[in-house]
Symmetry: C2
Subunit: 136 residues, 2 copies
DNA sequence: CTGCCTGCAAATAATTTGCAAAGTA
DNA sequence: TACTTTGCAAATTATTTGCAGGCAG
């Protein structure tokens, strides 16, 4: 069911091109976080012509629509994973270090804190790594 | 007082070269997180010859010694800030979005959680942004 | 039809590596 | 002296940009 994600594109007045649909399907199928390059390699089989820059542009676009989430990794490269949360509630992502599955974490109590050590908090990002149920 | 940091180098059997000392002093003087390039520009005045690769290598080394902490930013570039914590206790860093000052945050209660959504947590990283006392 | 999307080629720019020379302990 | 550390030049490689043609609405 990618309708949920396609609607996010519609809501934002972006065109539903075959390649955009395929990117979303690819994330649904893989069920893990991916690099632009991986998405590109995976979809090249399906499309005679497919430019890596388009993938970069679309993944970035998707992350702005709330379809994808950027995943932070120590190597400081670009990673994206499907963002499953329906609403725009505050949440973070947890990734499985074995299979790459992306989960969500909503009970972040950092929002309750207003200041830390004299700093007035304006925002924060949290990246959690772990091992998912299947991989244990 | 950079003795604290120099000792960390000694403990790890790294040589105390003038450039290494200068890098640490530079961080002490600036009191903010910096890019390798900024450190390099700042120290070139002092040293006739100074290679950017040496800065990269030393900053990475320092972060392994616990002298510097890597700072995560949305632009996914390398940033380092002095790590003030004396012991190796679990902590995170908070940066001032105005002046770049680096603070610390130790009351992280994520360590208490063992699992989230079925994921067994193996580690996590948290980056907090805010406005420091001086900048308010 | 109109403006957004895309491919291709090329640019950008940060970071890394190899190696010989210099410096520390 | 022996082993690190460093500078320089060059490589690497991810990501971005410009532009002409293609396609969705």
């Amino acid at each position: 069911m990618n309708e949920l994600y396609l609607n996010k594109l519609r809501e934002n007045n972006f065109k539903l091109t075959p390649k955009r649909k395929a990117i979303i399907d690819f994330f649904l199928k893989k069920d893990r976080y991916l690099t632009p390059e991986t998405v590109w390699r995976g979809l090249k089989k399906k499309f005679i012509q497919l430019g890596l820059p388009s993938i970069y542009r679309n993944l970035e676009l998707f992350s702005k629509c709330g379809i994808l989430a950027k995943i932070q990794r120590p190597d400081r490269k670009l990673y994206y994973g499907l963002c499953h949360s329906k609403k725009n509630n505050h949440h973070h992502h947890i990734i499985c270090i074995k299979c790459g599955k992306v989960g969500e974490f909503s009970d972040c109590d950092l929002l309750k804190k207003k200041t830390i050590n004299g700093f007035k908090i304006t925002n924060h990002s949290l990246q959690i790594e772990g091992i998912c149920l299947k991989c244990r």
